[in-house]
């Protein structure tokens, strides 16, 4: 019972500290911008730890954060193998394939105004659909190894990226295009020197949305058949063995991988679209 009290105390202490920091003089400094959410996160983890001990929660329902960390340290090689199978082979391959396909289709559609007007609504419609549902079908078509996961991911990321490229390519003003024409630039020089760079904020935005989709696709597709390695496989089998700490370990890996993937694309965005108002 003492642990429950501890939990409440930690919660209160974290909250008071954050109130003090957030209303303090230096609240807008970068260190504070990082410290405050960090304190919030640590407070939640500690409260979780103390409550689980205090209320004697069955670890089958909710393991302690320390259990999860210990498990992660023990199972590092296996987690790495799962990560490689699912994220690198499945998600990344599919992401690149889907992105390239979207780019090719967007450039094709771009040649005619008529096609652009058709592709845009159809693409954004498709982007809102539950495409993950094709996972069982694709696992049957392409086998249970990473190829089927890459295919699912490719289809899932295709539409958001396509829509953003097509929309981005329209984002130049008549004045800008006229200027290119006075320089005597044809279709391709205009595309490469003006319209593609101008479309970059849109394209990178589509790529950012697609990162999460890629991970979801790769993990969910593994629920329908996989070799004996992979994050989705590990989640569902560990779950069957009631090894919830392992499930949580995979969740942590997925969270880190997801944030890192997103972060990398954001960094690329910052480099490519440094001229855009949102980056300055």
């Amino acid at each position: 019972m003492i642990y429950v009290v501890f939990g409440f105390l930690v919660w209160a202490a974290g909250w008071v500290l954050n109130v003090y920091l957030a209303n303090g003089k230096h609240a807008d400094r970068l260190t504070m911008q990082i410290a405050i959410p960090l304190i919030f996160g640590v407070t939640i983890l500690l409260t979780w730890e103390f409550f689980v001990i205090g209320f004697q929660v069955n670890p089958v329902f909710l393991p302690r954060p320390t259990d999860i960390v210990v498990r992660m340290a023990e199972e590092l090689p296996r987690l790495w193998a799962d990560f490689f199978q699912t994220i690198v082979k499945g998600a990344l391959t599919g992401y690149v394939l889907g992105g390239l396909a979207a780019f090719a289709v967007a450039i094709l559609a771009d040649r005619s105004e008529f096609l652009t007007r058709g592709v845009l609504p159809v693409g954004s419609f498709m982007a809102a659909l539950p495409i993950v549902g094709i996972a069982p079908i694709f696992v049957k078509w392409f086998g249970s190894d990473w190829e089927s996961k890459a295919a699912v991911v490719a289809v899932m990321v295709f539409f958001p990226i396509l829509v953003n490229i097509v929309a981005g390519l329209r984002d130049t003003t008549t004045m800008q295009r006229d200027l290119m024409r006075t320089y005597g630039a044809g279709y391709w020089p205009t595309l490469i020197k003006l319209r593609l760079p101008a479309a970059m904020p849109f394209i990178l935005n589509g790529m950012k949305i697609a990162t999460t989709l890629a991970l979801i696709g790769a993990i969910v597709a593994e629920f329908f058949g996989s070799p004996t390695v992979g994050m989705g496989f590990r989640i569902s089998t560990s779950f069957g063995q009631l090894a919830l700490d392992m499930v949580w370990a995979e969740i942590v890996v997925a969270a880190i991988a997801g944030s890192a993937f997103y972060g990398i694309v954001t960094l690329i965005e910052r480099g490519v679209t440094f001229w855009h108002p949102s980056q300055r």
């Binding site: 845009l120 659909l129 539950p130 049957k140 999460t212 969910v220 329908f224 994050m231 989640i235 779950f239």
Partner: protein
């Protein structure tokens, strides 16, 4: 209105590619079946046929091409088979029947809508909290944004089972997933919307001696409406996807997700495809309804809808 023709063209092109693709995708299965039925097929063993690509085999056996469109268990069903299946299971069966797609649709739709409402309400409450409290803003907002990059959806089936083991059953577990998925888009959109009035407008209200509360009801809330609707559209499709994924590998007995899995595992691909398309139509209808409400509301409020 002027984009109807281009849209139809694109849809037609996709259908055409699909219809053509049906032949090479199914020709091997069709050839095996045709041989069992006593037709002459070249080459005459299944192993020899594996040497050929789908297109090659179709050229060698042009008589088999029509049969690829009517197979019972095709690799890739043709569009008309799916359309027929949807029509049969929507209009041809009693709604209470386990084989009616309307029944399965409702099983999926009910938790989606319930979860969507819960998620939206909680999201708006949190957004208001974030806009009014510096502490909430600084401590919660970064996590709300980071959580968007985490593939939570992949865990939906597990959450269902944990909740089921804890005694929570029925509509609620799936609703929790749906609520979770629609929650964050609403939070992020609402925060953006509640902050959208610029300094000049806020200052104007201050010169009127308006209190914080009045500023909220008369300026911040109305100007957040377009942002709210944009988030709702993302939220409702996220909710539906969440419910379907939650149904997929958990051995759920009913719902679109269960239909997709059952159809696939018991060798009835047409059934799985029909469920997939029915889910797509449902998603489109939900987003369409919200768009309509959006247009009406914004017109009433004198704002231009986007």
């Amino acid at each position: 209105m002027k984009s109807i023709l281009p849209v139809l063209t694109v849809i037609l092109a996709v259908l055409l590619i699909w219809v053509v693709a049906v032949v090479p995708m199914n020709i091997h299965l069709t050839a095996d079946q045709a041989q069992r039925d006593g037709l002459v097929v070249t080459p005459d063993t299944a192993i020899a046929r594996q040497e050929f690509s789908g297109i090659g085999l179709a050229i060698k056996n042009p008589r088999l091409i029509p049969l690829t469109y009517v197979g019972k268990r095709p690799n890739l069903p043709s569009p008309h088979q799916i359309a027929t299946e949807i029509y049969d299971t929507v209009f041809g069966k009693k709604i209470t029947s386990k084989r009616s797609l309307v029944y399965h649709g409702w099983v999926t739709l009910a938790p989606t809508l319930l979860g969507f409402v819960i998620g939206t309400v909680l999201g708006i409450i949190l957004a208001v909290g974030i806009v009014f409290s510096r502490v909430m803003d600084k401590s919660v907002m970064p996590w709300a944004i980071v959580s968007q990059t985490i593939p939570i959806l992949a865990l939906a089936p597990m959450i269902i089972v944990v909740l089921g083991a804890a005694g929570v059953q029925g509509v609620l577990p799936k609703s929790i997933i749906a609520a979770y998925l629609s929650f964050f888009p609403v939070v992020v959109g609402m925060v953006k919307g509640l902050r959208s009035p610029d300094a000049m407008q806020l200052d104007l209200l201050r010169t009127y001696n308006a209190s914080n509360n009045q500023g909220y009801w008369k300026l911040r809330l109305p100007s957040s409406t377009p942002y709210l609707f944009a988030s709702l559209k993302i939220g409702i499709s996220a909710s539906l996807i969440g419910t379907i994924v939650a149904e997929l590998p958990t051995g759920a007995k009913a719902g679109f997700g269960a239909r997709m899995l059952v159809g696939d595992q018991y060798g009835q691909p047409i059934l799985a495809w029909a469920a997939l398309f029915a889910a797509a139509i449902t998603a489109a209808a939900l987003v369409g309804i919200i768009s309509m409400i959006e247009r009406g509301t914004l017109r009433q409020m004198g704002m231009k809808s986007t």
